[in-house]
C-alpha cells in the first residue's frame, strides 16, 4: 500500500464517519463533501481520470450543494440538543456487522467473480466516450429521457398557480 493510498483512505473514512456523527446537519454535509473528494482522489490513483473528475464535478460541485440547500430551506441552522445516536445503536452495529459478514462471504464464494485479477484495462477518456456512444448508447439515451422527464416534473410542481392579478409591481 502506498502512503498516498493510506492518507486518502484515512481522509475518506474520517469524512464519512463525521458525516454520520456530527450534530449540525450542515457540518455533516460538508464532511460528506470531504469524503466525496477522498473517493475522487482514490479513483485518480487508480488512473481512472474520467471517473475521478466526474466524481468531483457531480458529487462535490452539485450534490453536496443540493443537500446543503435542502437543509437550509427546510430547517433552521440550529443543532439539535439531544444526542444523534438512538438508544439502540449497539443492536444496529451488530445487525450491520452481520449483514456485512454474510454479504462478504457470499461475494467471495460466488462463482460469478473470476478468482484471478484481470490485467488493468487502459481506460482513457476517449475509450469511455467511444463506449458511451457505441455499446452503451441505448442506456445513455434512456437515462437522458428519464432525467428530462424528472426535470419537467419538477418544473410543473414549481410552477406558480394561475392567479388573476398579473405582476402588480410593474405597469405598461
Amino acid at each position: 500500500m502506498s502512503p498516498f493510498f493510506v492518507i486518502t483512505g484515512i481522509v475518506t473514512l474520517l469524512g464519512a464517519a463525521f458525516a454520520m456523527s456530527l450534530r449540525n446537519l450542515v457540518h455533516c454535509a460538508l464532511a460528506m463533501a470531504v469524503a466525496f473528494s477522498g473517493i475522487a482522489a482514490l479513483y485518480l490513483q487508480l488512473d481512472a481520470q474520467f471517473v475521478g473528475f466526474a466524481e468531483i464535478l457531480v458529487y462535490v460541485g452539485a450534490i453536496a450543494i443540493l443537500i446543503v440547500f435542502a437543509i437550509l430551506l427546510t430547517r433552521s441552522g440550529e443543532a439539535p440538543e439531544k444526542s444523534v445516536l438512538t438508544s439502540g445503536w449497539m443492536a444496529g452495529i451488530a445487525v450491520s456487522a452481520m449483514v456485512f459478514t454474510i454479504l462478504g462471504w457470499a461475494v467471495l464464494n460466488s462463482s460469478a467473480i473470476p478468482k484471478e485479477t484481470p490485467p488493468a484495462p487502459v481506460a482513457t477518456v476517449k475509450n469511455v466516450g467511444d463506449a458511451l456512444m457505441t455499446k452503451f448508447v441505448l442506456p445513455l439515451e434512456i437515462i437522458g429521457l428519464v432525467l428530462t422527464a424528472a426535470m419537467i416534473g419538477a418544473v410543473i410542481i414549481a410552477l406558480k398557480e394561475e392567479t388573476n392579478n398579473e405582476n402588480p409591481g410593474r405597469k405598461s
Binding site: 460538508l30 450543494i65 446543503v68 477518456v125 476517449k126 405598461s172
Partner: protein, 398 residues
Amino acid sequence: MFDKLDQIFVTALHWLTGFLPAALQPVVSTLICIAFVMSVFPGVFALTTVLERKILGRIQNRYGPNRVGIPFTKIRLCGFGQFIPDGIKSLTKEDIVPRAADKVVHFLAPVVMLIPVLLSYSVLPFGKNMTITDYDAGLLFFFAVGGAVEVSVFMAGWSSRNKYSLLGAMRAIAQMVSYEIPLILSAVTVVMVVGSLNLSQIVAHQNQYTYGIAHWHVFTPWGLVGFVLFFIASLAESNRTPFDLPEAESEIIAGYFTEYSGFKFALFFLGEYLGMFAIIGLGITLFLGGWTSPVSFLTWIPSYVWFLSKLMTIVFVFIWIRGTLPRLRMDQLMNFAWKFMLPLALINILVAGIWHYMAADWQRWLVCSAIIFGAYAILGRGLMQNQNFGKRIYRYAE
C-alpha cells in the same frame, strides 16, 4: 535565437533539475512549477488591482491612485506601487470573527476557495511546452476543481451567521450553478471539433496558418458564438459587473465575505481575481489560440508573451465593462442564463457538428452563420416578449 528565448523557462527548469539525483528531480521540478504559479499570478493580481482602480478612475473622470511608487525613494511609477501598502495594510489589520460564527468553517472557507483556484492553473498551457500537468482530460479537471469554489462560498456565507452573508452566498451559488451550464456547453463545441479534452492538443489544433492568419476557433461562426457565450458566462462565474449581485454593495454590503477582515479578506480577494485569470486563461486556450500568434509573421514573439498579453487585454475589457454597465436584477440574470444562453449554446453544439461534417468551402460558412443568426433573432425576441421596456412608471414615488 528566438526559439531559445521562447523556451528559456523550460530550458532553465531542465538545467536546474539536472544538478540533482534522479530520484529528487520530479519533486523539485514540481516545486519549481508551483513556485512559478504562486509568484507570477499573484504578481499579475497585484498589478491588476492598481490598474483596475486607475482605469475606473479614468472612466469616472478622476485620477485614481497616483502617489505611491518605490518606498524610500522619490520614484512614483504613476502610482503602481499602491499594491505594496495595500498588502501590508491587509496583513496587519485585526482579524475579527463574529461571536456567533462557526469558527472552524469560518476559518476554512478562504482556504477552500484558494486551493481549487490554484489547482486549476496546473492544466493551463502558458506557453509552448509550458503546461504543468498535461492531463488527458485537462478541460474536465479545470471544471471539476471549479465546482469546489461553490462549496467555499457556501461555507463563508453560512458560517458568518449574518443574513447578508447568507443572502450573498445563496445568490452566488444560484448564479454559479446557472452560468456553469452555458460555460461548459460552449466549451463542448471546441472538444467536438478538436476531438480531445487535452488543452495542449486544443492549442496545437489552432496553431496552423492559412494565408498568414491563424486557425483560431474564434474566427469560425460556432467559435465566435462559443467565445461570446464563454465570455459572458465567465463574467458571471467570476462575479464581475454586470453580474455582481452576490457582492452588490448597495444591497447586501459585500455578500458572502461581509464578516471577513484582514488577511482572510485578502485571501478571498486574491482567490476571486486568480479565479478570474484562470477562467480567462481557459477562454484564451479554447477560442483565442492559447499561446499562438494571430498572424504568421509574428510567430517569433515568445509564446508566454502572447498568453500574458491576451490575458491582460481581456482583463482590461472586464474592467471596462465594470465601469460601463449597471448591475442586472435577479430575474433578469436567471432569464438571460436559462432562456437565452442555454438554448443558444445547445444550437451552437449542433452548428459545430454541421461545421465538422460539411466540406471546407464557403457553403458551410453560409449554412452555419444562417442557423446562428436565425437562432439569435428568435431567442432574442423570445427574451424580449412580455417585457415592457418602455419608460418606467413609479407607482409610489409620484
